[in-house]
């Protein structure tokens, strides 16, 4: 039976609705803008009540002794004007930001705000192309000189250094690496299937979207390189983030000429498997990422590596670009796994 909307709103304020009643309330709110406004007005009062009752208690205009609160004198002494408290806290936060802005570096909360803005910018639907550079060579350098088969006799992975990564909407990617003999090895996913186009042999395709994403660092933890949005959200939980500005550095500009800022995320605990540090350079105005550097990133069974993804371009790659057909001759045999 449908419940009176006023009762639903009141129950919602007091967190006493059943899940069925919550559903009824949501449906009612979405029925019309008038309903949504009625809800908004009720919540405006509910919100103000909390501030006012707290404020009045602080000045003893409201506090009521109850059997359960006879020993609450101490509590009341400590109770303060909640309006004042919240306003003071917000004002303090604003002052903090203003002060930090003045000296060219921002506090963690501001870095989180910026990270949030970058996440929102990353969610915009255009295609991005990055070039991957692995620092120091390490295992990659060795492999390039003397490729060795893996334990299961598989051919070694093509080097990640110099790879080109195209990404779209966090689900689709194309990773182009160059084999030791110079031929391209392309893996990717169109969000429905994942696939691998080796230089020779059949093209392989699978409905398991993770099947051919394993060569891309980041799948071992929650920072998949092809899903920047998800990766950035992962940073919020497991990393301490700080903001670094480059005021006065003329070369710190994006390709559009915008000033560039950097967010540095340092891993909170070694128990988290992700990279020890992530540095994100982004255009100050647009929030678009220009470069991401992952320090000590796990990479399958290889030693940890430090790699940088540099933005090459942002442009539409065509509707079929993330299908395997776009990356091999039409007569190639396709094996579906």
């Amino acid at each position: 039976m449908a419940t009176d909307p006023r009762q639903l709103i009141s129950g919602y304020c007091d967190e006493s609705l059943t899940s069925d009643e919550e559903r009824q309330l949501i449906d009612w709110i979405n029925e019309s803008q008038e309903h949504a406004q009625e809800f908004a007005k009720a919540l405006l009062l509910h919100d103000r009540l909390r501030s006012e009752v707290g404020a009045m208690a602080a000045t003893s205009q409201m506090a009521v002794p109850t059997p359960a609160s006879l020993n609450s004198t101490r509590w009341n002494r400590w109770s303060r004007s909640l309006t004042g408290l919240v306003s003071a806290a917000v004002a303090a936060a604003i002052a903090f930001v203003v002060i930090w802005k003045g000296i060219g570096e921002s506090p963690a909360s501001a870095a989180i705000v910026e990270l949030n803005r970058i996440i929102a910018a990353s969610a915009q639907s255009f295609d991005r192309t990055f070039r991957i550079e692995v620092e120091g060579g390490g295992q990659e350098k060795q492999s390039a000189k003397r490729p060795r088969p893996t334990e299961r006799g598989r051919p070694p992975k093509p080097p990640m250094n110099g790879a080109i990564l195209h990404i779209r909407d966090g689900r689709q990617f194309v990773l182009v690496r160059t084999e030791f003999d110079g031929r391209p090895f392309v893996t990717g996913s169109n969000g429905k299937t994942s696939w691998a186009v080796r230089p020779d042999g059949p093209v392989r395709s699978s409905t398991d979207l993770k099947r051919f994403s394993h060569d891309l660092p980041g799948h071992e933890h929650s920072i998949p390189l092809f899903n920047i949005q998800e990766g950035l959200e992962g940073l919020l939980e497991a990393y301490n983030v700080t903001l670094q500005t480059f005021e006065g550095h003329r070369d710190a500009r994006s390709s559009d000429g915008d000033p560039v800022q950097m967010i540095i995320a340092d891993r909170k605990s070694k128990s988290y498997r992700g990279p020890s540090r992530v540095e994100i350079r982004y255009a100050l105005q647009s929030g678009h990422i220009q470069q991401m550097r992952f320090v000590d990133m796990p990479y399958d069974k290889e030693p940890r590596l430090t790699l940088t993804m540099k933005l090459v371009e942002e442009q539409k790659l065509g509707p079929d670009f993330f299908d395997h057909d776009a990356h091999h001759a039409p007569d190639r045999r396709v094996e579906v796994e």
Binding site: G11, C13, Q33, A36, A40, H46, Q61, A93, V98
Partner: protein
């Protein structure tokens, strides 16, 4: 404080009651709501240079609020977001369309609260000062949770009527 920050602070002071109510409508834990509101304030000041003064500030601030609320729920998985994205967007629109009058009218709330007596006053204090839910209030005042919930609904209704009455008198004078 530079001119931009001064402007941002001025805008924010006017918009805060509405933004605060929007946050309360989705983040129901009062302490968490305060934290989220602080983060929104920081975000608003930090990104004020991207605000287009041709558009209403309140809508822009509510956009930031939606982002921050989304972040909060991703970060704090123990809390539960009742509303889906569409409902949140509808609510943000509804809050942004509330006139400044709606917020100003609530200045009469303190007078109206002073008119509460006895049990109504006690229930209001337990709910809003101690942040107790009807079930907890029920056990301390010897009522059923259902009766407490109904009483709270009635009290809010009385306060609303009182505010409207005082606003009407003020408007007529």
């Amino acid at each position: 404080m530079d001119e931009s920050t001064r402007k941002a602070t001025r805008h924010w002071t006017l918009a805060q009651p509405i933004v605060s109510a929007f946050v309360t409508s989705v983040v129901r834990d009062f302490t968490a709501r305060d934290d989220v509101l602080q983060e929104i304030a920081v975000a608003v000041i930090e990104s004020f240079d991207r605000y287009d003064p041709e558009r209403p500030f309140i809508g822009w601030a509510l956009g930031i609020a939606q982002n921050q609320v989304g972040l909060y729920f991703r970060r704090v998985r123990r809390d539960r977001l009742v509303f889906d994205e569409q409902t949140m967007a509808n609510l943000a629109t509804a809050f942004s369309s509330l006139s400044a009058d709606q917020s100003t009218k609530l200045d009469h709330l303190r007078d109206c609260l002073q008119g509460l007596e006895g049990r109504a006053k006690q229930l209001c204090e337990l709910r809003y000062q101690r942040d107790q839910k009807p079930a907890a209030i029920a056990s301390s005042v010897g009522m059923s949770a259902n009766s407490v919930a109904k009483a709270l609904q009635r009290i809010r209704g009385q306060l609303r009527e009182c505010i409207d009455r005082k606003s009407a008198v003020e408007g007529a004078s």
